[in-house]
Every structure is written in structure tokens, then in C-alpha cells.
Symmetry: C2
Subunit: 277 residues, 2 copies
């Protein structure tokens, strides 16, 4: 089910700048038992993206009302849904130039949860395997961190493998430093310290990544943020990936390198995140 | 007027991967007196883009038929139109992963020519002024050269200025080398030699750029292709930008640096291109 500018439809004009140029932003939000998780945090990131792109984000109350409308219409017997909010710059402007006056397009949709209970519980208890992607992320400080609609690098990276035993791929920057997964953020344990890649020049600042950093900080555990070259995998004791849908997935293998999964610090993070939320 | 998969409509499903991820390609083609210019070259670039993205391009005969249908329906008293062909990966797949079996979406539209006769003739006789953009282009060898739908960098760069006296902006790579304009390719004359930026890691290989290089080569004039740092503007005698709509526009100023426009070599290029086409 989908609402476009408040109207129940999935049809949009092809001159929308979201299609023409990827001129827009999106959020993917877990809805559990009728409640969108980390709503404020998702809206805040959308707002930050809007500031970077000079794109005015629709009113939060309106987005909330429309989200509630979608959730109310969904089958209440189904425990989990995925809410996607897309905001584009709308149609208009001349070529790449947009007009200050144009009205953004908002697209809200509710979709089935993409993972079975079994997939999810196996991932958490046994860990997942990651491919090392050849596709690298281009660097652009203005676009780094935000969740914009230019996602061809992720499409290319994700389609490097089709083996269903591989859950995710590690994507690097041009310098060979690990940045993120194709659809998740990465954390590593090195010398007992929790580390996550710096995202100043590329990558998406995931809502779950921020939650983990903040929850741990509140509980007195510091997460180091720094560039992490691929070679450092051999110095790594544990690894996990995270996003708003999967939560935390321990990693048992990246390329040819194996890890104890779930390791003690990963387990601890999963527990702390549960307590914090 | 617009045809989407052969149907006269401007409506498309919002789950199309063109909108969701910018997963697609486009061509902007000048139509003069009912004839698309450089048709084969545009189709060839579309095909090259398709190979890079593993996206199957609709049959050339079909694209030609639909283009002719649009042109036949347009006002024949109007001399010039812009034909845009967009091909997306269609809808489907799961997240960033596409399915091998999915059907691409083709969108063909015919739009009014964006420049008045006066604008065009003033640009050619007096030259244009270019802004030096702060927005840099991220580097990705797989995406470099092709005309894909991830154009946020161009949107950001183009919206750095609103002064109508500025016709175009120079965009650099992270190393500070000039790559292209926001909507055009760049050529420079240095020590009497014609030079255009290398586009191995970012930028679009424009159809007009290729035409100029090939026409000149056939006439015994070599164009050097190499990285061109911004500082080399002070060693530059002439400059021009080009694309499929504007043809060649001499440049009289980039940032604070002025050039003789149109200079003798630029004039010569304009003449040679006329003879060759």
C-alpha cells in the first residue's frame, strides 16, 4: 500500500526529479506491533538530508499521520512491516537547476518484512557471511552520511554475488578502507575495542549505527570512529553489521577471514541495545 | 508528450527502480527539422551504459519507432525539439538486488528547446561565462563515462549559482582537476594544442565531445586527453564547452580568468564540426 502526497496510488509523474536525477531522500523504518521504531531518529536524519540538499522536508506531523494511516490499513495479525518514506524535490526546474518554489513529493509505503523468523534467528545465533565487494564508493562530503536516492553504487555492489549463503557485502572507499555494508553499517572489535568506520566522505550514517554508539556511550562504553583498512580484518576479533530492519547481525566470515560469532562483545551490544530501546 | 513502454502517459509506478535507486540511464538528443541528431552515437552510448550496469537496453528499432511517433505528433512548424530517452531497470528485485529476469522501463519524451535563438547566437558569437563549482565529483570507474540517473552531484553543482549571466559551471574531481561542466564537456587550448579532461574515474563521455574528437582526428588534428588541474587555466589560451543541444559554446570567462572568445582554434572547431556532420 502506498500514499503519494496523501493520495492512495502508486503512480507518479515520470518528470519527478526523483526519477530524473535521484534528487531526493528516503528512510526505511521497521514497524513492530503497529509502532514505527526510532521514528524521531529517522525524521531527524531525513531533516539533515534535506538541509544538505536544500530540499524542504514535509511537516513531521503530516508524515506521522500518513504513516499511521498506512499502518491502520495493514493486517494487524502481521507482527512486522517495513515503512518507507521517500521525499523527492518534486517536478520542475530546468535541467539540473531546481526552482526554490517547487513542492516536494512524498511517497509513503508499507511493505512485507523481508526476512523470515528463521532467517533472522539463524543470523543472530550463528552469524552471517559477507562478500568483499569490488565496487568502491565515490567520495563526496556533501552527499556522505545522508540517505539520498543516488544508490547505483549499492545496486552494483549488491549484485556482485547471488549465493544466498552470503548475507551482505563490505564496500570500501577508493583508498581500500572499509566503509559499510551495501545495506548496513559495520562494527569491528579490535584489541577489545569497538570500532566503526568514519563516514565523512562516503557511506550512510545509519539510524541503528547511531543508536548503538549512543546507547553504549550512555552506558560508559566508547565506540571509536576511524578509517579501517581492509587489511585490519586480520587484527579483528569480532564483527557485526546493523541496520533498522536487521538490528545487529554478528558476522562469522568476511571474504576468507573467519570470526567467532556471536563474540562476547557483539552479544553484549545486542543486550545493551535491547535494554536501551 | 511522453511514451512510457509505448503508452502515451507520464505516469509510472513509484516502485520503479529508476526512482527508488536511480537505477537507469538516459540520453538527451537534439531533434532538428524532424531528425534526431547523432542517433547512432546516442544509442551506442546507451548500450555501453547498459553493459556497465548489466541492464538490457530495449531494441533500437523499437526506440526509433517510438521516437518517430513522438516527432510525428509534434508541431512541425517548430524547428527544434529535445528528445529524452530514459531506460530504467524496471520494478522488482529485493532491495538493491535486481532480478535477472526483470523488464526495463523505457520513457521517451519530446520537450521544447531550452534556449532562445538569441541566447544561442549570443553564446556562440560572444562566448559564455562559467562558475567554478565547489561541488566535486566522486570517483567510480564503473559509473564514469556513462549517463546514468544518479545525478545529485550535477544538481548540487548547478544550484551553486543563480546569476543568469553565468551559463555553466566547471566541476572538478577530488584532486582539483577539471572534469566537465554540470551539463557539458570542456575543451581547452594550451600552447596551441587542444586538450579535454580524461574521464576514466568520473564525468560523462558526451556524444558531442566524441564527435569533436573524431571529426578532428579524421581531419588530422589530435585532441589530447589528460587530467587538467584548475591552476592550468592561467596557461590556457581558449576554452569551450559542448553538448548535444548547445553544440560548441566558446567560453570568455571561468571564475576570474578571461579568454579571447571565440578564439581562432574554437572557431576552427565549430567550422570543422559543421563540415563533418
Amino acid at each position: 500500500m502506498m500514499l503519494i502526497n496523501g493520495v492512495e496510488t502508486d503512480q507518479i509523474t515520470a518528470i519527478d526529479r526523483g526519477l530524473q536525477y535521484g534528487d531526493g531522500l528516503f528512510e526505511t523504518i521497521a514497524v513492530v506491533d503497529g509502532e514505527p521504531e526510532f521514528w524521531q531518529q529517522h525524521l531527524q536524519r531525513l531533516q539533515q538530508g534535506g538541509e544538505r540538499l536544500a530540499l524542504s522536508i514535509p511537516d513531521a506531523v503530516l508524515l506521522q499521520q500518513e504513516s499511521e494511516q498506512l499502518i491502520a490499513a495493514a493486517d494487524a495479525n502481521i507482527h512486522r512491516w517495513v515503512l518507507k518514506i521517500t521525499v523527492t524535490r518534486g517536478s520542475g526546474g530546468r535541467g539540473y537547476r531546481y526552482s526554490e518554489a517547487q513542492t516536494p513529493t512524498r511517497i509513503l509505503s508499507l511493505s512485507p518484512w523481508p526476512y523470515s523468523e528463521q532467517q533472522q534467528s539463524e543470523a543472530v545465533t550463528q552469524g552471517v557471511m559477507l562478500h568483499i565487494c569490488n565496487t568502491r564508493l565515490g567520495e563526496n562530503p556533501t552527499l556522505a552520511g545522508i540517505k539520498h536516492l543516488n544508490r547505483l553504487e549499492q545496486v552494483l555492489a549488491r549484485n556482485e554475488w547471488s549465493d544466498p549463503a552470503i548475507a551482505e557485502g563490505v564496500v570500501m572507499n577508493p583508498q581500500g578502507e572499509m566503509v559499510e555494508g551495501t545495506m548496513s553499517n559495520l562494527f569491528f572489535v579490535q584489541n577489545g575495542e569497538l570500532v566503526t568506520p568514519e563516514l565523512r566522505l562516503c557511506g550512510v550514517v545509519g539510524v541503528m549505527r547511531q543508536q548503538i554508539i549512543e546507547q553504549l556511550q550512555q552506558q560508559g562504553v566508547t565506540v571509536a570512529i576511524r578509517p579501517i583498512p581492509l587489511q585490519q580484518l586480520i587484527l579483528t576479533e569480532e564483527a557485526f553489521c546493523c541496520n533498522s530492519l536487521i538490528g545487529i547481525w554478528p558476522i562469522h566470515k568476511i571474504g576468507g577471514i573467519s570470526f567467532h560469532a556471536p563474540g562476547p562483545i557483539t552479544k553484549d551490544c545486542i543486550q545493551r541495545l535491547k535494554r536501551g530501546s
